[in-house]
Symmetry: C2
Subunit: 117 residues, 2 copies
DNA sequence: TAATTTTGTTTCTGTATCGAAACAAAAGAG
DNA sequence: CTCTTTTGTTTCGATACAGAAACAAAATTA
């Protein structure tokens, strides 16, 4: 498996993401979104900031951007109203599923390529 | 294989890319860079613009950004001096290799997870 | 209750990027 | 040679995002 073989699906998926002009997320916003949807919560601003090694204001602004598209929502922790829990939304789940389909398709192509290509 | 299993390595790699603060490329710039390095050339501005479905000025600007980091270089086609060939550089190859290592590491982790996790 | 700490947001200034349109240069057509 | 087409860059006005610092609100400490 050469580096090229390894990276080709990544290239294809990224090109797909650029082509379809749906919500145009930065790398930081993608990392944040996938973290919220794929790793166990609760996801607070502080934890996300530490996990991603990104300043808190940047997390806050990224949440603004993702919220505008309805991909995540904020909810105050009732037991400690300082804390913001970042939560999933139906739109966000749909968006993630669509992304997963792109990845699956491109991975499948790449695997076929390894057999027949 | 659930969508989550499929996407976790993507999440991990994207988080790594955000964490290490090296050249901070947008998704568009990544798609462009990987296209130049992983698909057969020659890569002209026009072809890249059509392949990525992105306006030519955006390609031109992205090439500026990548060139500043030394990740690609421009070379005029001698036989038709209008045409710009986008070419690889040693620094760019190194950068791609480092990225491939991150992907490999994360894929390996994910595969282990499938066995033992 | 007053001072301090923790959590997250907002402001500030500067840089980067966007799409559309205008532009310049080279090649081709008549 | 002149006009048109092709290729890529630059300009334009507007928007988005960066890090640092200031800020507000809730919780904790003394």
């Amino acid at each position: 498996m050469t580096p090229t073989d390894l990276l080709l699906p990544w290239r294809d998926v990224m090109v797909d993401m650029v082509r379809l002009d749906r919500p145009d997320l930065s790398m930081r916003q993608w990392a944040l979104l996938l973290t919220v949807y794929l790793t166990p919560g609760p996801h607070t601003v502080r934890r996300l900031s530490e996990d991603l090694n990104v300043p808190k204001p940047a997390i806050s602004r990224a949440l603004d951007a993702l919220s505008i598209h309805g991909l995540v929502k904020r909810a105050r922790d009732p037991s400690d109203k300082r804390i913001v829990q970042v939560q999933k939304t139906p739109e966000g789940s749909l968006f993630i599923d669509e992304f997963a389909q792109i990845v699956e398709e491109r991975d499948r192509q790449s695997d076929l390529g390894a057999y027949y290509g």
